[in-house]
Symmetry: C6
Subunit: 267 residues, 6 copies
Amino acid sequence: DFLSALDEVQPAFGVSEEELQQVIQNGIIHYDASVEETLRTGKLFVDQVRTSSRTPLVSILLHGHPGSGKTALGATIAQQSDFPFIKLISPDSMVGYGEAQKVNAITRVFMDSYKSPLSVIVIDNIERLLDWSPMGARFSNSVLQTLLVLMGKRPPKGRRLLIIATTSLRPILTDLGLSETFDSELNVSPITTLRALDVVIREVKLFSSSQEHKEAIRMLAEAGFRDEENAKLQIGIKKLLSMIEMARQEPANVAQRLTGALMGLGM
Amino acid sequence: DFLSALDEVQPAFGVSEEELQQVIQNGIIHYDASVEETLRTGKLFVDQVRTSSRTPLVSILLHGHPGSGKTALGATIAQQSDFPFIKLISPDSMVGYGEAQKVNAITRVFMDSYKSPLSVIVIDNIERLLDWSPMGARFSNSVLQTLLVLMGKRPPKGRRLLIIATTSLRPILTDLGLSETFDSELNVSPITTLRALDVVIREVKLFSSSQEHKEAIRMLAEAGFRDEENAKLQIGIKKLLSMIEMARQEPANVAQRLTGALMGLGM
Amino acid sequence: DFLSALDEVQPAFGVSEEELQQVIQNGIIHYDASVEETLRTGKLFVDQVRTSSRTPLVSILLHGHPGSGKTALGATIAQQSDFPFIKLISPDSMVGYGEAQKVNAITRVFMDSYKSPLSVIVIDNIERLLDWSPMGARFSNSVLQTLLVLMGKRPPKGRRLLIIATTSLRPILTDLGLSETFDSELNVSPITTLRALDVVIREVKLFSSSQEHKEAIRMLAEAGFRDEENAKLQIGIKKLLSMIEMARQEPANVAQRLTGALMGLGM
Amino acid sequence: DFLSALDEVQPAFGVSEEELQQVIQNGIIHYDASVEETLRTGKLFVDQVRTSSRTPLVSILLHGHPGSGKTALGATIAQQSDFPFIKLISPDSMVGYGEAQKVNAITRVFMDSYKSPLSVIVIDNIERLLDWSPMGARFSNSVLQTLLVLMGKRPPKGRRLLIIATTSLRPILTDLGLSETFDSELNVSPITTLRALDVVIREVKLFSSSQEHKEAIRMLAEAGFRDEENAKLQIGIKKLLSMIEMARQEPANVAQRLTGALMGLGM
Amino acid sequence: DFLSALDEVQPAFGVSEEELQQVIQNGIIHYDASVEETLRTGKLFVDQVRTSSRTPLVSILLHGHPGSGKTALGATIAQQSDFPFIKLISPDSMVGYGEAQKVNAITRVFMDSYKSPLSVIVIDNIERLLDWSPMGARFSNSVLQTLLVLMGKRPPKGRRLLIIATTSLRPILTDLGLSETFDSELNVSPITTLRALDVVIREVKLFSSSQEHKEAIRMLAEAGFRDEENAKLQIGIKKLLSMIEMARQEPANVAQRLTGALMGLGM
Amino acid sequence: DFLSALDEVQPAFGVSEEELQQVIQNGIIHYDASVEETLRTGKLFVDQVRTSSRTPLVSILLHGHPGSGKTALGATIAQQSDFPFIKLISPDSMVGYGEAQKVNAITRVFMDSYKSPLSVIVIDNIERLLDWSPMGARFSNSVLQTLLVLMGKRPPKGRRLLIIATTSLRPILTDLGLSETFDSELNVSPITTLRALDVVIREVKLFSSSQEHKEAIRMLAEAGFRDEENAKLQIGIKKLLSMIEMARQEPANVAQRLTGALMGLGM
Ligand SMILES: Nc1ncnc2c1ncn2[C@@H]1O[C@H](COP(=O)(O)OP(=O)(O)OP(=O)(O)O)[C@@H](O)[C@H]1O
Ligand SMILES: Nc1ncnc2c1ncn2[C@@H]1O[C@H](COP(=O)(O)OP(=O)(O)OP(=O)(O)O)[C@@H](O)[C@H]1O
Ligand SMILES: Nc1ncnc2c1ncn2[C@@H]1O[C@H](COP(=O)(O)OP(=O)(O)OP(=O)(O)O)[C@@H](O)[C@H]1O
Ligand SMILES: Nc1ncnc2c1ncn2[C@@H]1O[C@H](COP(=O)(O)OP(=O)(O)OP(=O)(O)O)[C@@H](O)[C@H]1O
Ligand SMILES: Nc1ncnc2c1ncn2[C@@H]1O[C@H](COP(=O)(O)OP(=O)(O)OP(=O)(O)O)[C@@H](O)[C@H]1O
Ligand SMILES: Nc1ncnc2c1ncn2[C@@H]1O[C@H](COP(=O)(O)OP(=O)(O)OP(=O)(O)O)[C@@H](O)[C@H]1O
Ligand SMILES: [Mg+2]
Ligand SMILES: [Mg+2]
Ligand SMILES: [Mg+2]
Ligand SMILES: [Mg+2]
Ligand SMILES: [Mg+2]
Ligand SMILES: [Mg+2]
């Protein structure tokens, strides 16, 4: 049924613009030096694949807390490569797939990539692709084996491939023997400084006046989000953006609500 | 068979009035400030989804003791949203479904919701949807993975979705990695005060005369259901309503039977 | 295959007289006050379902030692309700069914009951319906989930349903999370007194003369079955009736054989 | 597929002479009082089924060491009943059957028996029917559940059934919850006395002269098989008969070889 | 599918010469008294089956270290029986078979044997037939159950059958309950003495001159392979023959290489 | 379905040049005496298979750290044999295969090899062929059993076969009972000396001038990669080649980047 399963999935060539757009539609806020650093390192790998004929296969793993921005960063690196083949393998587009269908869909993307001289494949949220469940340590072994083989298989002569994978559960990948297949790992860290908070809040125009903004930052500092050394703040950019929107709901108390929400995190 | 399974389930658009009516037919008794509070908070999330374009997906979890009123409150919040798409995903309408059929039915509701600018999906009784069994810690991993993906997947551009889920087994959801996908959690607590009891009894007209009512409350107080601090009373509204009906059977001893039944709970 | 399975089972409306007769063909011997009490309590629940429109679903669990008479009592309560829909769900009529067929057959009975204004469903021997095996703690999770949902699902508006279930393994039901779905539990206890023995023996006319009967009772008393306080006797009515028949085989030694058999129990 | 499986097995009515003959072709040697006792007790149960209309279903379990003669004795009791329906359910005739086919074949025998006023069913070697494997404690739960239900299900009105089952693994049956479904258990014990040995050897004419026979018995006594109290001998009749045949191979040393073989057992 | 599976395997009657030849093509070297002894004992069992009508079924188990010669000896005993039906059941001819196909193929050989008055079946490498894996203690329970039943099932009247099985994992067979079905067990031991080595080396003409041969034996003795009491040598004939061939590759250093290889074993 | 599965895979005769080329396209760098030694030993086994008619089946296992060059060395030995049948069994060409398809593909290669007088089969990356997952110790038992049988099965008369297998997880093979089926094991060790590093760097022309090269070696020596006795260096040739390419990206800092990368290994 593998072969018949193959027919249910339409082949995909070229760049899947729409899918990439979908995951980076909120843009990248440069709240921190680390953001730039991650994009720059990503570019280095893109260049290596483009130029060195001896390493036709390079793979990197973006890992970090849930919502720290892994998918958006991975997709951005991929998009900026300008390679003729860019493709996102995401659990979002495999809802309801059985094991065989997943294996098939994943395999097909790799096979398609082998037809392009230069390719990037973003494998998003590996734990979900694997149907990983912490209870009972369940996962799809056939998807795992497929990834293990495909991530170690050299593209055919003259073809080059960059693999960018993301995960929030790096230790699990290690236990599954997947970590060691990556050439490099990049850690995407959460926001921990008031300065970064400041940048984000300004960027999304939470306050209309500069005065209000300053007030809010002062309130946050007073609430304890000031000392960067033993930071009590630790929040992914995705969740922060969501909290900001919730705070925006009550125009009278925006700063209070945001501070409250951030303080509620540690509980 | 996923695709063929899809055909067995008819698509559903718009508001499923009947299903919602079914679960809230007994109405909401405002026995307590917490009831109002829950509905009000629910409305806040409805408003956020309606107004903020940056958070197209918001999800909340109503959790609490069995029979504490989670389903009725969730359905009420959904209904009061007046969103064009309101839908109940409930194990009650999936009796006898296999895993694939469940995954399919759930997926279809989400896909349908993506066609409406504003949607609410109530996922009732998640543990039952997951076929959770405490013995052997069994559950359907494919339903779990489907929920994990769908609850994290952004609706397409211009579409917004509020997810309201209910459970009596919050710790299990945490163990399964489902808790952290919710933006917020609301606890629906059982009835613990004599004052709340009083309201409910009055509301359902258990006694015909005010005298009888007062007598009954005094009897309950004497039975120990008076001190609110270390309340020995802890009962879900659903079970309380059921006990009241049983007591009503013996017109001569209504108060005694109700008191007896409430005292029997602790055993 | 759920749908196709549905066709293999013929629909059943109305009262299934024959099945009920089969399980109560030996009648009910009133050897004890507890027998009357159980039937009376059963009747109370029947009345509640008949009269209170606010509790359209009531469920009770008859539990007790193997052979203590649970099935006969449950069926008797059901039959005496005179409801237009009375149905027995029993493992006896599902020999050789697979999981899907069982789920289907059970579901169909409930669906049929929803068409009648007043219904009783007797779910006999739940542990067997669940294919429960103590070794390895195996059971059919799909049957379990089906029961959990159906026993919590309100009948449609204007329909009322009484569920009477029986089990010899109440602790297992608790472990499986099934116990808490019942509104009430009734314990069917085994025979422990000489007086009850006396009634049964007389009722089934084990001895032709009153003299023989008295002799036998004296022999039983001497054998130690006299002191009711720390009764050493504990036997289900079903097994007792079977022992009496075995004793009847040897007309010369009826009393001795019965005494011997009863004494052999403790071994 | 249960129904389709039904068609693969041809119905069987009446007495299956051939199968019974096959298992008792070597006859019953009355080496011991226990042999007679077992057959006599078996006859009592046959009579009870024939005469008492209140116990239409009686079941007994023959258990004992491998090769102790359980199958031969069970079949003999069945055959001597002269009931119109006598049938052997044996793993020997189900080699290669899947679970569903086994369940089906077993069920069919019971269904057929319900058409005869008086029936005996011999369920031989239950552990093998259950596909029991000590390693991993594996077994067929569907065969187990089928047996549990069928062994507790009353035949239709006017039909009576005696069930005779055999096993070498009584503790396993207890663990599986099967033991308690039997009305009675009979232990078939191995040969432990020199006197019994003597009877068997004579019966199968191992020696041509009485002198040789005596010599052999003396040799066995000297080898330690004399003191009956703390007998070191413990051998099933089946294995003993096999050893005797092996000894018969070397006409010059029959007594020595037999003694040697018996002494080798304890090793 | 059991029945349809039956058709995929062609029936086999008579002696399967080719298969037997294949496993004994290297012949039997009489390096030791034990070799003769095993063949002689095998012949005794062949004779018992041929002559005693009371033991129509005899089964023996050849067990011993990997490569100790079990298959060759079992096949030789079978071949020397000159029975009209001789058949090898070997995993080698079931590569890629599923459980049902294996059960089927095994069953068919037994069924075929029942048509011959005298038969030998060699069941080679039982652990492999069972798909035994030490990790996780996995095995095919359906093959196991099939063997358990077939090895205990008497052939039809007038038919006699000798079963010769081989295994390197006798303890596993015991754990699986298979050991006790054998009438007798024969241990095939590895080579442990210099004298046996001497015989083998001479037999396969490793050296062209008697002088070289003597030299080699002296070298082996000096290497410590001389004292037979606490022999440090323990090697199966199969591996020894393979080592000899490897040594033969380097004509100049045959003795050294063989000695080295034998000394490397203990590491 | 095994038979039908057979049809999905096209037969393959002769030497599969392309596949072999693919895995050795980067060539073999003789950085070390061990490289030569491994190739020489491999040739010895090739010769034994070619010349000795008594050992028609020889199997060797190349094991060592990931990326140590096992596949390249195994393929090179195979290719240099000049046997008429050379075939690579690799997980790379079985992506998405189910168990039955894998078993089938593997079996077919062996069957094909039996038609050639002289054959080499390279079984690459056995752990991946087995779908081995460290978490839960999962693997395909049917692939395992197939390998166990095929690796022990003598080719037909006149056919000879050399099996070369590779693995990074030798201990797992031992636990699975696979190790003992090999006639010999060869360890492929990682690079641990500065001298070997030197050779590799020179060979791939990392530096254009001899001066730069010397500088780099001095830098590496200073970084601690000098003392060979307690070498802190341990890197597979595959990873080393990949690091060299990455270093090459930044022409200004080649030596620094390489040194840094090598030092990062131990972390
Ligand atoms: N510097 C940034 N890095 C990453 N994402 C950013 C940044 N600034 C803004 N964003 C926005 O934050 C969101 C990050 O969400 P994203 O899905 O990428 O996180 P994630 O780590 O993949 O989450 P999850 O753990 O749920 O997979 C995106 O909407 C992205 O547009
Ligand atoms: N304040 C209230 N909150 C919730 N339900 C109420 C309230 N007042 C009355 N009810 C009635 O009480 C019942 C609550 O039952 P509901 O099924 O919602 O509880 P639940 O917590 O979902 O139960 P379960 O744990 O079984 O899923 C409903 O019939 C509802 O109409
Ligand atoms: N007072 C009584 N209560 C119940 N059964 C009685 C009573 N008097 C006589 N009987 C007879 O005793 C038998 C009880 O058997 P029944 O099958 O109901 O027991 P059970 O508890 O359901 O057994 P099991 O545990 O095997 O399911 C019936 O034949 C019934 O007719
Ligand atoms: N007194 C006896 N009781 C039983 N069997 C006897 C007796 N005398 C002789 N036999 C013969 O001994 C053999 C007993 O074998 P049987 O198969 O009945 O034993 P079993 O206990 O069922 O063995 P298993 O444990 O293998 O099922 C039969 O061949 C039977 O004819
Ligand atoms: N005395 C002997 N006994 C057995 N085999 C011998 C003897 N002399 C020579 N041989 C040869 O030794 C080889 C023994 O291999 P065989 O396959 O029979 O061993 P085995 O114990 O079955 O191995 P395995 O454990 O792998 O199944 C055969 O080639 C056989 O011809
Ligand atoms: N001396 C050498 N030995 C082996 N490979 C070498 C050598 N010199 C250069 N190479 C190259 O190094 C690479 C070794 O990779 P190869 O895939 O053979 O390693 P491996 O041990 O099989 O890796 P893996 O553990 O991932 O299977 C090949 O590209 C090969 O051409
Ligand atoms: Mg992500
Ligand atoms: Mg609810
Ligand atoms: Mg009952
Ligand atoms: Mg038997
Ligand atoms: Mg062998
Ligand atoms: Mg490799």
